[in-house]
Amino acid sequence: MAIEDDVVVVGGGLAGMVAALAAARQGAGVRVLSHADSTLQSASGLVDVLGYPAAAGDRNAVASGRGSEAVGERPAENGVGDGTTENGVGDGTTENGVGDETTENGVGGGTACGPVADPFDAIPDLPERHPYRTVGVETVREALALFDEATGNLYRGGHTDRNALVPTHGGTVKPTARYPATVAEGLASDDRPTLLVGFETVTDFDAPLAADHLRAAGVPFEVRGATVRFPGEFRADAARTRLADALDANERVERVRDGGGRGAGGSYSTTLPARRALAAAVEPHLDGAERVGFPALLGQHETEAVLADLEAELGAAVFEVPTGSPSVPGMRLAGALRRACREAGVRFTTGNPVVNYETTGNGEQDGEIAAVRVDRNGATVPFHAAEFVLATGGLVGKGVDSDRESVREPIFDCHVPHPEDRYDWFADGAFGDHPFARFGVAVDDDLRPLDSAGDATFPNLRAAGAVLGGYDFAAEKSGSGVSLATGLAAGRAAAREVFQ
């Protein structure tokens, strides 16, 4: 059976889906080949475009009293005094006194170069090889327009060019360009008094601590935190998605009367629907708060209804605070994009990895790519197409891989520039200017991966998203934005070639 498409996109994350959508909207027949869940499973669901101006190295220098980062300095030369230690033997001392200054080196960040209010303004100042510079600021805008249209009512932020500052589950605020509608009432530039609510068993979000942290960050609103028990009998290690399901279904749960939740003595009364029981647990803590924030688990599917019910019960606005893995907002976004792709006619083949490719030429490196090969339990199946998009993600998504000697892109063996010595791949501070954060393929102006000599590897292969090198999305807060903009550009270019 010959499987034949116009465009094959390898990787079904944000970049891959946007590339597929963009190509399909131009009329191309598109297939997405994706191995596993994408990074959206653990990303917050916020769509950052650009939160901080380029130079990430500034982060360490700014906080006074903290040593500056010696980029590329080998830890081997620092000796044990700097606290590099032990391991797994239950062992390990803790620190060593001498290491104290170094211990702090680079951990905290400073804000001397604060967040950018308007990301579009700041893009032209990025380094020339930054993916945003490659595709241009107009493409970024178009990508966001496509995103807004594809996600419909699910996302907000399109009414302005300005970044929003969103409270994080750690109690800081983060600049972002698009945020889930469920987050909208929680913005930090809104001055309504706020109550944060955490759950005893949702260990990633400690509401009283986050509230104190936000206060330390100088937010312009009153904020308090309270920890309550999630109503119902759930295991102590029930996944966040399990709690979200209970709210989706509005399951009836038993509720302890007397408000208390702890220990003996609480007499059980009637059962209540989960949403009402939750509101009842929160109510005693309201004390004048006009908005209430929960960790992001307010339903996987019926989110709007969950929010509306909670707001009605509480008489206050309700919002979500995004969390890490498993990220309910990230999963909602993945679902929405997938629906948009399907509606545009994109086909998905998932569950197996692409392992290599076939070319039209005689030698391996000659000609164009004719097909990529998927490994299905040991058997390889070729997928033919005219154009290919590589959107396999970065170090996290498995689009970039490494061993003790080198860093590579595993499917096409595209060149990934990296220092030869693996001790030059990272900085000493946890939040130092890490070279590994910029690992990825280098591309030409049309997003075609380059080989080590600087020539395009294949005329019909383009790369998009985190597999690209040359930007540190964590430092810049630019992850989703780069995936959207380069995804759009790669998808459109692929379709353009198909119809030429």
Binding site: D91, G97, G110, V173, T201, G218, S402
Partner: protein, 568 residues
Amino acid sequence: MTDTEVVVVGGGSTGCGVARDLAMRGVDVTLVEQGNLTHGTTGRMHGLLHSGGRYAVSDQSSAQECIAENRVLRDIADHCVEMTGGQFVQLEGDPDEYFEEKLAGCRECGIPVEVLSGQQAREEEPYLTKSVKRAIRVPDGAVDPFRLCVANAASAEEHGARIETHAEVVAVLKNGTQVTGVEVRHDSGPGKREHRRAGERETITADHVVNAAGAWAGQLGEMAGADVAVRPSKGAMVVTNCRQVDTVINRCRPKGDADIVVPHEATAILGTTDVEVDDPEDYPEEQWEVDLLIDELSKLVPILGEARTVRSFWGVRPLYEPPGAATEDPTDITRDYFLLDHADRDDLAGLTTIVGGKFTTYRLMAESVADHVCGKLGVSADCKTADVPLPGSEDFSVLREYMDEFGLRSPVGRRSVQRLGSRADEVLTTDGPNPVLCDCEAVTRAEVRDAIEGSGTDLNAVRIRTRASMGNCQGGFCCHRMAAELHPEYDESQSREALDELFQERWKGQRHALWGEQLSQAALNYALHATTMNRDRDPAEGDGTLDFGRFDSGAPNRPEETEARDGD
């Protein structure tokens, strides 16, 4: 009147062992340690409970001590020991004579042995290379040095000792030729941060001072005016993400580098190297050591070549040479321990140094020091440390009941109860739900809280007590959860500082293992903390000038939501 009868300097296995032994004999003891307990070599060792097999050819008296103490520790500290068993493996091409010598040596030293064919060896350890010729089975085990050290300190405390961490000895007090105590400087460093204020000095007078400062013993000797020729020798170890072997695997060859793999909890630890260094606090950690361990040991267990390495660490052996020995190669320096009576040796009364030796024989070393000191003090009590179990080790058999009682999922329950020993009941009984905070190592909230009670804001100490943040993710997913447990007892800025410190410490150890999956993990951790939480640009760490008014404060008209707000 002195402040205390005996000051013990050094909170490693030796010092803690000495403190326990003396305290159990009714002696009033104060232990001072410059860092936290296990700050020195004890916290950076390979975790092998020697059967003695390693020394059965070269050093038979050490071998005999090892097998004796190996048996004692199984009795008194079974919650710190896992009797995995071990093999000395001969590969094709390794010398036959040495194998025979090893076998005979073990038998001479009373180490129970059994010869395994290559096939039998591989049945026991399927990942051994196919070129294994035969093997000797010995009773090696894995030992958790931290738990053991803390259990000794806890026992000493129960018997009235004072254990003072973050107290560095800066001077040894003397009156003529009589040592009369020490002067310590208290530090504010991590640790149970309830001790005295940073920078404060304290004079502790004593009838006798025991120098158990390990690789630092020479420096302490110098303060007293005695020459103690410690020759510190560093060794590297590499930790993998899973337990590729279930028994201790030794290469059966004359001494060499990179010849042991020890299974430890959910990991395997590859070791080690042996290079003399000048300063036990400051020496290079070198890439060739990491590469050598992986390359050499994958000859024994080939999948180690592909294994995911989570981190590397180094320790310094406190080797000692009697005056005049001047051995050139550090690997030739004896592994024996030495008790130096400075009254005899240097005409300096009131000071005894214990140095050299091995973790496995710490109790025996402590006993000989305690005998010696008691002789000086005129105390006639007998040593009880070989017979009385350490705190937490009784009642290990009730494991199953604990699991049911606490409603823990089996792996969690098993691990928690193993870690806590007989304290499980006390620690795991809580009012609230007890979720797992560290998924990799299955550490629950109750354990973290219990450890915080003991260690305050020092999350590295909490980590060591509980193993939280020591698994595959190296803390990426749980550092902040641990820090949150400090709140509200400690305020937000203390919790934040503790988090930064732990996160940085976890990062440092990974740097020697940053390739392959661990590099991907590091990228994920970096993203979780920098992207999702924006901890690298935390406005709370800034100058407080963030102008919130310049940012989006929400779309102008949100009909549904406005309605809901007005609805009440």
